[in-house]
Amino acid sequence: MSTSTPRTVVTGLGVAAPNGLGTADYWAATRSGKSGIARITRFDPSGYPSKLAGQVPGFNAADHLPNRLLSQTDHMTRLALVATDWALADAGVDPTEVPAYDMGVVTASSSGGFEFGQGELQRLWSQGSQYVSAYQSFAWFYAVNSGQISIRNGMKGPSGVVVSDQAGGLDALAHARRQIRKGTQLVVSGAIDASICPWGWAAQLAGGRLATSEEPDRAYLPFDAAARGHVPGEGGAILILESDASAARRGAHVYGEIAGYGATFDPAPGVGRPPGLRKAVELALADAGVDAGDVDVVFADAAAVPELDRSEAEAISAVFGPHGVPVTAPKTMTGRLYSGAAPLDVATALLALRDGVVPATTNVDPDLSYDLDLVTGEPRVTEVRTALVLARGHAGFNSAVVVRAA
């Protein structure tokens, strides 16, 4: 890469997480070990084997968005629009003052506006096709958040949408960085996901990885011998990515740099080759130009399925050595947010950089056989200059991002 390639920095964060709405609330909760996992209130979960989720608290969309947008959007799009507003404000960007083609939007989605879709499917099958909403054609599809963010903020630059299950959140940031390297000044990126509705729940149950424990502090225990699946959540983070030159020109506060990225896909079942996470990590470190020894903390994918925890621990140990790097998974406080999870982890890593504190993997009593230096109990106070964020998607998607202090 030539020296003239712009570096990509993060200048704004917008967070909607189950344990805190807004960056300040989320970070305070995450530092103090406060969880957002509880029994589902959005619908009655008593008939389902899994009853817990991480739901975003205190979000009243009408406080933030006009009625016109409320009628045409799913819950996850409303969260994404508001998180974008907050991220732009945090970055000090007024989109009306930036040339429209210099601003892009690249988000990830895993299942689109699924709750909106359930409502319209119900109208179709119980009442008839003429009762289906005129908004169904775009409220459900995966491109909705990028499209709505672009329209609300007048952003006409290179944009995109990627879908790679939970890994997609990092793939979106990487694709946003690609556009900045090619000359776009600013890209809104990240992901907000939600499918906590009965129909989404049925589909997630079919995935076979949901915990069935009804105790919020015992249900999602990655890297614990008691790991029995995960708790899903909703939310995520929207980040403002900018070229370093643009940030410097504006005198913007810089949280850190998106310094490296790598992605792989696991071999087909039965092929007999090793899974691809280790390779993704190595690619991300090489892309960032850092050695394993430079990494101060790893934010794990933390599937909480024993064989997946095992393969992640092996990948981390292969690169960093046994107990070679602090590892954490604060998503034990939010549940797994699908494509929203990794952007939230990137935001968390940037806050860890800023404040010199690594939040803990709450509730977990680590299985020592994983050979991980898992940060449990209290947050660990330590200087953080470089962090690695991992994310994996159902069927074999592996992505890794390196963030570092600017």
């Binding site: 008939g47 895993s110 289906v132 672009s150 006409k156 949408v161 589909a203 079919a206 069927a395």
Partner: protein
């Protein structure tokens, strides 16, 4: 910026009118249409009851019973097309580092058919708010997340590099290939299997397009229902299909003696930031995407020999893109043949962009421009040369293909013979 150049060395198409690239080109070059009254289900309660359906038997095309069971139809179409593309390319991936081979797959609406069918069951015909998950098929999660489609393609071709679904609505099929080009140019992959798929012909899709009158109500004449650029056009005809490509770096493709269909010489995507479904008549953002794609290809407007239009057959689209062509190409727009294959194969949402790339490279291959079928009545607002009714022999060294979609996405790609765009 790296000087790597990316070329298409394999093509696979599963489209209305017949499975396989050969059948696809025969349909286009003969100007036949594959639109018909819907047969997949009883469409009688819908406003628009025509579609371009594929007569597709997955078992006949090599999918195993378990593959068929676990894949939505859209994934099946993609896997069959990917296998054809890989075989066509002659590329032997067994010697390659699998981490250097990736997959990008466009899809606008994912597993719509699977989700529609399964919802009907678990909700017992919409009666249950709290759906009964015990009636769900075991692979329902694969329908929830369309990333499962990219996984199926990766497994089918043995790719272990960067793999993702690109889902930007009706430009997905261009953006997915554009994304793959960027991965090869930046050095993340040496080869990509890229393209798009969608199989949306399902009651929920018909209902949502009925609600905004986007699809045509011309039910009494389904073979002639898709009428891009015609004065009597009144909406698009829903279609389905997939096209997949093998993409490689030019020099390595030449080194192995591969047949090179075209270089992907330029690509750009922009947003109109205007409306989720509406288009301004001026087409400025599509024109911008075209201009940037031409710059990247180092071609001027006069370098374009043929424009493969989005041409959906809605009132607003055809006017919008005609304006975009004039804005970006100037007078050359009037001298360049423009056609819409949607007149023959319908609009398969996220898939169509890739199917149109296939049509574009086949036009270059044969030096024949496919026609716009059903174009009889001029529209004063659409006054370019749309190649009505019959294919035209025409020296075609470089093609512009464009897409426009919900969410405001506007994408443009320039395909050219490598020697033509060497600059």
């Amino acid at each position: 910026m790296s000087a790597r150049r990316v070329v298409i060395t394999g093509v696979g198409v599963t489209a209305p009118g017949g499975v396989g690239t050969k059948n696809f080109w025969n349909l286009l070059s003969e100007g036949r249409t594959a639109t018909r009254g819907i047969t997949f289900f009883d469409p009688s309660s819908f406003r628009s009851r025509v579609a371009a359906e594929i007569d597709f038997d997955p078992e006949e095309h090599g999918l195993s019973p378990q593959e068929i069971r676990r894949m939505d139809r859209a994934a099946q179409l993609a896997v069959v097309s990917a296998r054809e593309a890989l075989a066509d390319s002659g590329l032997d991936l067994s010697g390659a580092d699998p981490h250097r081979v990736g997959v990008t797959l466009g899809s606008a609406v994912g597993a719509t058919m699977g989700l529609d069918q399964e919802y009907r069951v678990v909700s017992d015909g919409g009666r249950l708010d709290l759906v009964d998950h015990t009636y769900a098929v075991p692979h329902l999660y694969n329908y929830l997340v369309p990333s499962s489609f990219a996984a199926e393609v990766a497994w089918a071709v043995g790719a272990e590099g960067a793999t993702t679904v690109v889902s930007t609505g009706c430009t997905s099929g261009l953006d997915s290939v554009g994304h793959a080009v960027e991965l090869i140019r930046e050095g993340s992959a040496c080869a990509m299997v890229a393209g798009a798929t969608d199989a949306p012909i399902s009651p929920i899709t018909l209902a949502c397009f009925d609600a905004i009158k986007a699809t045509t109500p011309r039910n009494d004449d389904p073979e002639h229902a898709s009428r891009p650029f015609d004065g009597t056009r009144n909406g698009f005809v829903l279609g389905e299909g997939s096209a997949m490509f093998v993409l490689e770096e030019l020099e390595s493709a030449r080194a192995r003696g591969a047949h090179i269909y075209a270089e992907i010489a330029g690509y750009a995507s922009r947003c109109n930031a205007f409306h989720m479904t509406g288009l301004r008549p001026d087409g400025l953002e599509m024109a911008e995407a075209i201009s940037v794609a031409l710059d990247e290809a180092r071609l001027g407007p006069e370098g374009i020999d043929y424009i493969n239009a989005h041409g959906s057959g809605t009132k607003q689209n055809d006017r919008h893109e005609t304006a975009a062509f004039k804005k970006s190409l100037g007078d050359h727009a009037y001298r360049t043949p423009v056609s819409s294959i949607k007149s023959m194969v319908g609009h398969s949402l996220g898939a169509i962009g890739s199917i149109e790339i296939a049509a574009s490279v086949l036009a270059m291959e044969h030096n024949v421009v496919p026609p716009t079928a059903n174009l009889h009545t001029p529209d004063p607002e659409c006054d370019l040369d749309y190649v009505p009714l019959t294919a035209r022999e025409h020296r075609t060294d470089a093609v512009l293909t464009v897409g426009s979609g919900f969410g405001g996405f506007q994408s443009a790609m320039v395909l050219a013979r490598p020697e033509r765009s060497a600059a």
